[in-house]
């Protein structure tokens, strides 16, 4: 039962991933793509949690911590580049 719910949840998150990917590929401005990038990385965190649940290994969650951190730094780096502050 819980397994089926996880399947459905991942499928829904996958649709969200595709929508954000569409925004990333289409644009139109650089900042739009950065927002899509941020969303994609956060959905990837959800994927990592699902993978950890599927394999049953808690140590995979360390990767998710690093992920949450790096999406933040990447977005800030691009934003500072755009406003000429780097």
């Amino acid at each position: 039962m819980a397994d089926i719910l996880i399947y459905i949840a991942t499928a829904v998150a996958g649709v969200a991933f595709l929508l954000a990917l569409y925004r990333f590929l289409k644009g139109p401005t650089a900042a739009d793509r950065v927002v899509a990038f941020d969303t994609l990385t956060l959905i990837s965190v959800v994927f990592i949690v699902v993978i950890a649940l599927g394999e049953g290994r808690g140590i995979y969650l360390d990767v998710a911590v690093i992920y949450a951190l790096l999406s933040f730094l990447g977005v800030i780096a691009v934003a500072r580049y755009l406003e000429r502050g780097l």
Partner: protein
């Protein structure tokens, strides 16, 4: 799954090579190089994967006694770990040189840098 990941890696290598061969901007060539780099790493890790096995880290779900039957090949992983770290060193070096080239000629177009052409 291993075949799929390997195919993705090969496609990434091809895309990266295409970009490196056709672009004239030096920075874009370096970007293409990093894409190809990711592809190579993907292929190497896919070689080590075995269906139905788990990561080579022992804990209470994978006790040491049955490790050999449960884990995947750790050697390609150690190899790729090295490759990634060296990759960033190489990229930093290429970027520093591109900065120097830009300082000399104020352009990143590779066809304008003709001193070493033959």
């Amino acid at each position: 799954m291993a075949h799929l990941a390997m195919a993705t890696g090969f496609i990434l290598i091809l895309i990266g090579f295409y970009g490196a061969l056709t672009n004239r901007n030096i920075l874009r060539m370096i970007v293409a190089f990093t894409v190809a780099d990711s592809g190579v790493n993907l292929v190497l890790v896919a070689v080590g994967y075995m269906r139905g096995r788990t990561a080579p880290i022992l804990d209470n779900t994978v006790p040491a006694a049955e490790a050999a039957a449960r884990i995947i090949d750790p050697v390609p992983q150690a190899l790729v770990l090295t490759a990634i770290v060296i990759g960033v060193g190489v990229t930093a070096l290429m970027l520093a040189y591109s900065y120097k080239l830009y300082e000399k000629k104020r352009t990143l177009d590779i066809t304008k840098h003709t001193e070493l052409k033959w």
